[in-house]
């Protein structure tokens, strides 16, 4: 993208060109698909039939509590992945610290509700405030460096958070064993297995709000500056823009979405365990989701997250089946590990379909795949 075009687009004089692989087809068609998708997702808890064993839950019924919980997890991570894509795909910032803000959502809410017995609304407000403040401070520090150094600094801060949680200061976090959510202060509609469908709807609402936020942000003037920064930060600077503020805005918005996702996760799962909500594994999973789905495309991140969480749960279910144990060891050992299969799938995608599922879909629709740009991580490609 040339500097002149950036300027023209920022001032709104030029027609919106192909900003990314996202703008496929006429807009109304995309919106209709979107509305239909939300409607189908919203109706899932009412579907009491089986889908012939393709569901990951133990009970093979669509609206069983186990299945709804897994599907709710898919939606939570879809929202978190979308927030991460805002940072990575739309602003070109590769952060390895996304888990910190997710864990903040999980743990601060859990501590406020279970350790301090606060009412729900103040607890949620506190969690959001902590997540936002943390993102502003740590984001401002991390953004002093670029590219790989930025990735490493965010990683280090997230690790500090993990150590803090593991350390169990004053018995607040439960350390290694985690902290079970005390549900006494929660509204009755969000408590108990029978109400899993309400939690599922909450997760869906979170995803819809996250999508709306990301959509509004990326379509705004700020969003265009993000794209300009992604393409070439130096060029954006030359145009008189101050990348730092815009990058910080992207970082904070992305982190707040992760914090909100963490809160919904806590309500859905009912416990906070350091290895599943605060470790580097979470950051890597979210990154894998976004790349699998398609970097810099909003629906790609959502699809990637759903596919990832679903596959992870489903592969575990298959590996636990008795017939699986009769497979010869060279087949059984790798196939029993979702981590191996997802990692291998990821490698295949990076090598052969770097645009993720979104690119595959575009290819299937017969559109010529454009040669992919490299998402700049600052200094890369400008040496």
């Amino acid at each position: 993208m040339t500097g002149a075009r950036v300027l023209a687009r920022l001032s709104g004089r030029a027609p919106a060109g192909p900003a990314g692989p996202d703008l496929a087809g006429p807009r109304w068609a995309g919106r209709a698909v979107l509305a239909a998708g939300v409607a189908v997702l919203a109706l899932i808890p009412l579907a009491s039939f089986s889908l012939g064993g393709i569901l990951p839950g133990a009970v093979d019924v669509v609206n069983s509590a186990g299945t709804l919980q897994v599907l709710g997890l898919c939606l939570v991570f879809a929202g978190v992945a979308l927030g991460f894509d805002l940072l990575f795909g739309f602003t070109g910032l590769l952060s390895f610290g996304q888990v910190l803000y997710f864990a903040t959502g999980v743990y601060v809410l859990d501590i406020a509700l279970s350790d301090w017995h606060w009412p729900v609304l103040p607890a949620v407000a506190l969690t959001a405030a902590v997540g936002g403040a943390l993102a502003v401070v740590l984001g401002a520090v991390s953004l002093r460096v670029r590219g790989i150094a930025f990735a490493m600094v965010t990683l280090a801060f997230a690790q500090a958070g993990y150590y803090l949680v593991e350390d169990n200061p004053h018995g607040l976090t439960g350390g290694d064993t985690g902290l079970v959510l005390d549900t006494t202060r929660l509204p009755a509609a969000l408590v108990g297995v029978a109400n899993t469908r309400n939690l599922y709807w909450l997760a869906l609402a979170f995803l819809v709000v996250a999508y709306a936020l990301v959509w509004l942000a990326t379509e705004s003037v700020t969003g265009r500056v993000w794209l300009a920064i992604r393409e070439s930060e130096r060029r954006a600077e030359t145009l008189g823009l101050r990348p730092f503020r815009f990058k910080l805005a992207s970082f904070v918005l992305s982190s707040l979405i992760a914090t909100a996702g963490g809160m919904v996760y806590l309500l859905l799962v009912g416990t906070a365990a350091p290895d599943s909500v605060a470790s580097l594994t979470v950051t890597v999973s979210v990154l894998v989701m976004v790349v699998l789905g398609g970097v810099g495309t909003r629906w790609g991140a959502i699809l990637g997250a759903i596919v990832y969480v679903y596959l992870q749960q489903y592969l575990l279910k298959i590996a636990a089946e008795p017939s699986f144990a009769s497979l010869p060891a060279p087949l059984r050992v790798p196939l029993s590990q979702p981590q191996f299969l997802l990692g291998a799938l990821f490698v295949v995608f990076v090598l052969f379909a770097p645009g993720g599922i979104a690119e595959l879909a575009a290819r299937a629709r017969g559109r010529v795949a454009r040669p992919r740009r490299e998402e700049g991580t600052g200094a890369d490609g400008e040496r």
Binding site: I148, A160, D167, P334, Q339, F340, L351, A379
Partner: protein, 302 residues
């Protein structure tokens, strides 16, 4: 020998292991702009290669110094082979796309760690090593673990070897020139691609050695599938503090991080909220260094 000196020795040994990991990462990054996330699994695989060799050696051989040399050679070779294969099969097709290269190493790390978990479970395996290696020497009334001296010696040896290699050999010169200006080296008709493979292999070899030493010195000669990934995070911090691409920077930062971690860890005690203070303080060091000097201690460019 006072307690302080004993702790210092352990911090230096930890720093030496960090250096072994960071040296490979830093060399690879300096030349190729690839941040190798698979380095963690290279470490683990080095440990397992050592385990595979040591458990196959006959009789009491793995418990002797000669046997331990064979174990070490297997670890180094294992790390080097995996790294060379990674470079040729996964990194090479992605030249010129640094983000995709990082992503592919993340996927590889996931996949190989998953494979190790499938093959070995999450239980540790014991590597048979000479008894003196896990023993202690009493110096002036203080107990100094022998493994600390071995780790320190290994670190110094590799630092000397790498310095000699980079200064005195043809490939070393190509690597240093390539880190400075790849396009120019290519324009002079030199095959930078081969230098990439060499650097990756060296990185894998030092990772294999680091994985074995880390297991022997700091984990009672036990190896498990996620050991390398835990070490990798600190190695990343070391590389950034030292300055990406700088070998000397990595050496200085490795000692700094090792000492800070051990001193704070020891003197802060293990009270509530303090047990991990050694680890947290390393992150603080990183933040302070980057605030004062964003390109790291000895880094040329950020």
């Amino acid at each position: 020998m006072s307690t302080f000196l004993a702790i210092t020795l352990s911090g230096l040994a930890l720093g030496a292991v960090y250096f072994l990991v960071a040296a490979g990462l830093s060399l690879i990054y300096g030349l190729m702009d690839v941040l190798n996330f698979a380095h963690g699994v290279f470490l683990t695989l080095g440990g397992y290669a050592g385990w595979a060799m040591a458990t196959r050696l006959p009789g009491a051989l793995p418990r002797t110094a000669a046997g331990f040399l064979l174990t070490t050679a297997a670890a180094i070779l294992g790390g080097a082979l995996v790294a060379a294969a990674t470079e040729l099969l996964l990194i090479r097709p992605l030249y010129g796309r640094p983000v995709a290269q990082i992503l592919v190493t993340i996927g590889l790390d996931l996949a190989l760690t998953g494979l190790l978990l499938g093959a070995f479970g999450s239980d540790s395996r014991a590597i048979p090593v000479p008894a003196w290696l896990t023993g202690v020497t009493v110096l002036g009334g203080e107990r100094a673990p022998n493994g600390d001296f071995v780790a320190l010696g290994g670190g110094l040896l590799v630092l000397a070897a790498l310095t000699w290699f980079l200064r005195r050999t043809r490939y070393g010169i190509i690597i240093r020139a390539g880190a400075e200006n790849r396009a120019m080296v290519r324009a002079l008709g030199i095959d930078v691609g081969r230098a990439f493979t060499v650097v990756f292999t060296i990185g894998g070899a030092t990772a294999g050695l680091a994985g074995l030493l880390n297991s022997v010195v700091f984990n009672s000669a036990l190896i498990d599938p996620t050991q390398g990934d835990q070490l990798l995070i600190f190695a990343f911090i070391v590389v950034v503090i030292g300055g990406l691409g700088s070998l000397a920077g990595s050496a200085v930062a490795a000692l700094l991080v090792g000492l800070v971690q051990v001193y704070v860890g020891f003197y802060a005690g293990s009270g509530s909220g303090l047990a991990q203070l050694g680890n947290v303080s390393v992150v603080l060091v990183l933040a302070v260094v980057l605030l004062i000097r964003p390109r790291g201690l000895l880094g040329a460019t950020a």
